[in-house]
Symmetry: C2
Subunit: 407 residues, 2 copies
């Protein structure tokens, strides 16, 4: 019989596993990877005061009180070349022509926008508006301050984090390697998709759905083998997989039926420790999780929709743990609010995942539950996401507002 | 001067451009790609009736009225081998042992779960519960019906769509190629990150932020060159880029200042048609969009945060158009509801994008506006997303519920 645990207890075992190796990659390969070392600023950015506008670098005090009717008269000291150091300091009567991004000369503390000036002649301008100190200027270290942490280990690398690294002249980052996740498909009736199934056989779907879910969640899928319902064949495939995989998914054979060898095979693996054989969820109850050294070894239900849902709810956090992700932002598991369009019954004693389709309805969204057995891929193709009915609930009533966990 | 158009008008030009080439890829390379041809079912799945349980295949009628106190007595006809055709039909007195996924024999129309049976001897079982026709059975074509469209051209390929393809024996799919997006960084003061900036120079951030945004949105970034503020150098780089890029981003020089050559260079390109020089948004006003044959050519503001926001709001839909995406689901631009923690002022006459950080607050979220100039990468690093203040609004009041468009 199954020895069922709750999904919460199962998920608490995420911390039994530690993150895998790290690697050092050029910035252009780091998007969406997980940082393995903090990005620390080794310098101030900018290292000099820069203008944010085209105009004139001045002492702010020289412009105080300036207006259309009473402009300040200033003398043009120089035109500052981009990417070069200004040659002259700016005094009380002076203004130096500057472009956006140009370096503010000594003496100046602000920039008057060109729109608020008028050239009287080649040496002289009138200023029609006052500026405050540091107006239209980026000060030294205003963007990035030396010796501060810019992005922490365990966080996902976004475009702006790469911008920060670039600003600091960091050309490579330490990131966690992508976990290699082995997939073994079991079942006498399962044939590879390259093969024409005989009557009574079906093609291996789960290999592809699981591989794609692994990719979407930052892993490398590695297909190990299609094995028949046979202890020795499955044992051999598992032994092979744990040589080089960081996680292993065994699709099918996870229950306690005549053809269910997964639990026996896992138990025979060296150092295997069974965490769960059965989880109080629907679909997905006959799920196995074991720990083999640092490798989470999963027995997943063979029903395609069940296996995908178990991946979504239970497997994914373990994959992210191996991949080094920490403090994942609470909003990154994308949900939308929707109104349930009919009653959904649920059995107490298990957390139930109901596949729903979303439909826009004026300003809100409707969630339409999808009927169908968990062996049907169709139910997943039609669905946009899941709603979760808690273990102690008998179901949800029509018109309830629900959070739809999107695929 | 700028000739400013609204973001809505600019976005209406998405349909001036058509999708690019297609390619034929094995399933394991198709995750998150855009389908270029419908997936059509060429057969029924399953092609035979399958059991969804371990148990006995029976005629449902043989179990009617069965109960613990009044079981039906049935004779075991055979044990059906997985992946094989059953050898014997099932009559009114018969039951054939079957596993999950096994083929239902002729005559049988349902499966009694093993839990509701008891073996009396090797030839005989008692059934304690009645089943209905098709109970615990997946019927022919119940999952996928021949000649129906399973997933449409223009839709993104999800794990479940690959499962459908696999079920149908489809080994490769037609998908749109990833658009190649060229990036040119301009500015006399900009140096490559491999180089030590002199005083007055800064490292090229925008190349990396934009490349990463391109990757996240399904394109291939292709860095063309760092060019100085010089018409001829920029023209040469653009000429080179439009030979092989599907879209071109020119970072910096998009305004009307002394160093702003982008508009002149684009105008000189053969067949160039300027769609916008200036968009009524903040930040990002000095944005250029031109059409050069089927290539959207963008002049982006050099300020790093402005360029990223313009990409997020305006460039992205064009990239997806080139990539063939159609009818993108309304919920796929991820937003979360949050409560604004202080007043935000906005100028009328332009759509304003305010960077905000999110903070969990009991059951809801707070949106904290981030102060800082649009030349600061820091403002993007600290932000989790944007709130949009419409053109005709003077701002938003503290405590307003806002939709935060997540990065």
């Amino acid at each position: 019989m199954l020895n069922v645990i709750s999904p919460e207890v199962l998920l608490s075992h995420v911390h039994d596993f530690s993150s895998i190796d790290i690697e050092y990659l050029p910035l252009n390969q780091c998007t969406n990877r997980i940082l393995a070392k903090d990005i620390i600023a080794t310098e101030n950015i900018p290292e000099f005061r820069r203008s944010t506008m085209d105009g004139y670098a001045v002492k702010a005090v020289s412009t105080y009180g300036a207006s259309e009717s009473n402009p300040s008269l200033l003398f043009i000291k120089e035109t500052i070349e981009m990417g070069k150091m200004p040659e002259h300091p700016v005094g009380l009567q002076d203004a130096s022509r500057i472009s956006t991004g140009g370096m503010i000369p000594d003496g100046a503390d602000s920039v008057v926008m060109i729109e608020y000036t008028e050239a009287i002649d080649a040496q002289t301008i009138e200023v029609y508006k006052s500026v405050a100190p540091l107006q239209n200027v980026i000060d030294i270290g205003e963007d990035i301050t030396r010796d501060t942490i810019q992005r922490k280990k365990g966080q996902m690398i976004r475009p702006q984090d790469l911008g920060t690294a670039a600003a600091l002249g960091i050309q490579k980052l330490w990131v966690y390697k992508k976990p290699v996740v082995g997939i073994i498909s079991t079942g006498d009736e399962i044939v590879p998709i390259s093969q024409n199934p005989e009557i009574g056989q079906i093609r291996d779907m789960n290999q592809y759905t699981l591989a794609s879910q692994i990719i979407q969640n930052g892993g490398y899928p590695e297909f190990i083998d299609n094995v028949p319902d046979n202890f020795d064949a499955l044992y051999a495939a598992c032994k092979k997989a744990i040589q080089y995989c960081h996680m292993l998914l065994i699709s099918g054979g996870s229950s306690v039926g005549m053809r269910d060898f997964t639990i026996d095979v896992i138990q025979k693996l060296e150092c295997a420790e069974i965490i769960a054989h059965g989880v109080s969820i629907q679909p997905g109850k006959p799920t196995i999780l074991a720990r083999v050294t640092n490798i989470p070894v999963w027995g997943l239900p063979g029903h395609v929709a069940s296996a995908m849902i178990v991946f979504h709810i239970l497997v994914q956090p373990f994959l992210r743990q191996l991949a080094g992700e920490q403090n994942r932002p609470f909003y990154s598991r994308q949900t939308v609010k929707a109104r349930l369009i009919r009653n959904v019954a649920s059995s107490q004693g298990r957390e139930e995942y109901v596949r729903v389709r979303l439909e826009q309805n004026d300003n809100s969204m409707n969630a339409i539950p999808i009927q169908g057995k968990s062996g049907l891929i169709r139910t997943m193709v039609q669905a946009d996401g899941l709603i979760i009915i808690p273990e102690n609930s008998e179901g949800l009533e029509q018109e309830t507002w629900v959070d739809v966990l999107l695929f």
